[in-house]
């Protein structure tokens, strides 16, 4: 504005000062309620750090899809209560899918609560599943039991379930590297839901689905649910049973290691870490049979050649493979909602 004035009236150029003064007065009038000391601007660090993190940690080795995945995490909010979720059609749909799957799995039957029994509570947990390129794959709702309301001796007894030792994992990796074995990875979908319960457990009706039945009706659980104290144990027991039926021998050195020696002299090794499975060995046929058998017994996701196990491994397409922890660092940072600075 000031410039315009000057350009159009070159003769009045000495008036421009006056004009500016008036203008600023008008501004002050508008903002009378501001504090006297005006903010001068946010302070910034003038000096660059001497040792920026980018010198040491870089995303360069990640494929571009993985980079976008890392940056896209945590961008969509998830509901924290049922009432919030019921407003959104996507979440409602996800809950319907979960209930349907549980019914199909024959997880519970509806009964009236016997006197003297206490039902376990349950709640919904919502998560968003991402594809490798960072776009949203699906909205997932999971019904979890409030295991903390269970009492020892009443509705649970033993809870211990073994997981693969880090040492065993390294032994298997070392052997696979030395013998040039192929490492296959599988993931069991809804692993805990496969476990069969021995104890008698009653659970409240899932929130959002408790309208249609009479008061006092509860679910009597037949299969394990996420959140129950004995779920991991029930799942591992079931898995062991299936593996022994397939003719695999449980190793005494580590109970999560299953081994089968075929007639041809080949060996197949299976290592299970809760729902993550590694299969290796020099018997290709047996491996194919095994993956088919697992698929008929459980719902299996075949992840192909080993990439990550326990969020740890970073493969390099060579005969040798390294076992790095860069991913751990990144995942640690992610979990805290903190990305490495300068990235």
């Amino acid at each position: 504005m000031l410039q315009e004035v000057i350009v159009s009236n070159p003769i009045n150029s000495n008036n421009s000062n006056e004009f500016v003064l008036n203008n600023s007065e008008a501004q002050v009038d508008q903002n009378l309620d501001l504090p006297i000391a005006l903010r001068k601007g946010t302070r910034t660090c003038t000096k660059q750090p001497l040792y920026p993190l980018s010198n040491f940690l870089s995303f360069e080795n990640f494929p571009p899809t993985h980079k976008t995945f890392l940056t896209n995490l945590n961008s969509t909010p998830t509901p924290s209560t049922v009432s919030e979720a019921l407003f959104n059609r996507k979440w409602k749909q996800a809950m319907d899918v979960e209930i349907e799957a549980l019914n199909k799995n024959n997880t519970w039957e509806l009964v009236t609560l016997p006197t003297g029994k206490k039902p376990v509570g349950c709640k919904w947990v919502y998560t968003i599943k991402y594809r490798a390129d960072g776009t949203i794959e699906r909205y997932k709702a999971r019904l979890v039991a409030k295991g903390f309301t269970q009492t020892y001796g009443v509705d649970y007894l033993e809870t211990f379930a073994p997981v693969a030792k880090m040492n065993t994992i390294r032994v298997i990796l070392s052997l696979a590297a030395n013998h040039d074995w192929d490492l296959q990875q599988f993931d069991v979908k809804n692993a805990f839901l496969h476990g069969e319960l021995e104890e008698e457990i009653y659970m409240d009706l899932p929130p959002g689905y408790d309208g249609q039945v009479a008061v006092g009706t509860v679910c009597k659980l037949k299969k394990a649910l996420y959140g129950l104290k004995q779920s991991p144990r029930a799942w591992f027991g079931r898995f062991t049973k299936v593996m022994t039926n397939l003719g695999y021998k449980q190793s005494q050195g580590d109970h999560t290691l299953f081994i089968k020696h075929s007639v041809s002299g080949g060996v197949t090794i299976l290592l299970v870490y809760v729902d993550d499975i590694i299969v290796t060995g020099d018997d290709k046929e047996e491996q194919i049979i095994l993956s088919q058998c697992l698929a008929t017994n459980f719902e299996i996701k075949t992840l192909g050649r080993l990439k990550y196990f326990w969020e740890l491994k970073w493969p390099i397409p060579r005969k040798e493979f390294s076992y790095l922890n860069k991913n751990i660092l990144l995942i640690c940072l992610k979990k805290q909602g903190r990305q490495p600075a300068n990235q």
């Binding site: 750090p49 030395n178 005494q252 290691l257 076992y323 660092l329 640690c332 903190r338 600075a341």
Partner: protein
Amino acid sequence: MLKETGKTACKPISTPVDPNIKLESAEEDNAVNKEMYQRLVGRLIYLSHTRPDIAFAVSLVSQFMHQPREAHLQAALRIVQYLKGTPGRGILFKRNKSVALEAYTNVDYAGSVVDRRSTTGYYTFLGGNLVTWKSKKQSVVARSSAEAEFRAMAQGICELLWLKIILEDLKLRWDKPMKLYCDNKSAISIAHNPVQHDGTKHIEVDRHFIKEKLDSGLICTPYVSTQSQLADILTKGLNAINFERIISKLGMENT
């Protein structure tokens, strides 16, 4: 982790432990935020699953979880600083076409200033690849370095036996004796010597255990000089040159 400790712009350090500092309980020092300290050390413990290079440093700082002081926090932050310089370091599993079992054991005699207990450290290698390791303060006070070494050897043997069980399950034969490298000559000679020494009465169980395994030809105990002792890194803070030398021998590589 770097950001949480406010160390994003720190200068990286070449070793995780200062070789000249012995951590003590430091009662008179300023107390630090316990929760923060425990969270930090917890993360480091998780990280040490894949990083034998920080195993000793982490075992040191985790001894003071119950009452962290300023000096301990500084030690923990030093590990973070070290990690910053080497974020991509990891074990590389190479193809050596063997299933040789080897172990290196070492102790730091009376290394703890607090209670003068010794620190055990061992590495086991399977087919030339590092598979297991441990750095742990012993549960009892040892009266001589040989005695401390003995305990470490017994533990190393246990680990080797476990590996052997796994391999036998897989029907992988390894008939030669497993090598247990040890840098204490007196411990080796006591292990071989069947004569009952008065001075080793109190460690009889470990002694007989090692003797039995030696006699059955399961293990052998070659001597290694302190120079080529790889397990040094698990029992004491080393200077940068030695540290790097051992790290490269362990098969740890940067990417």
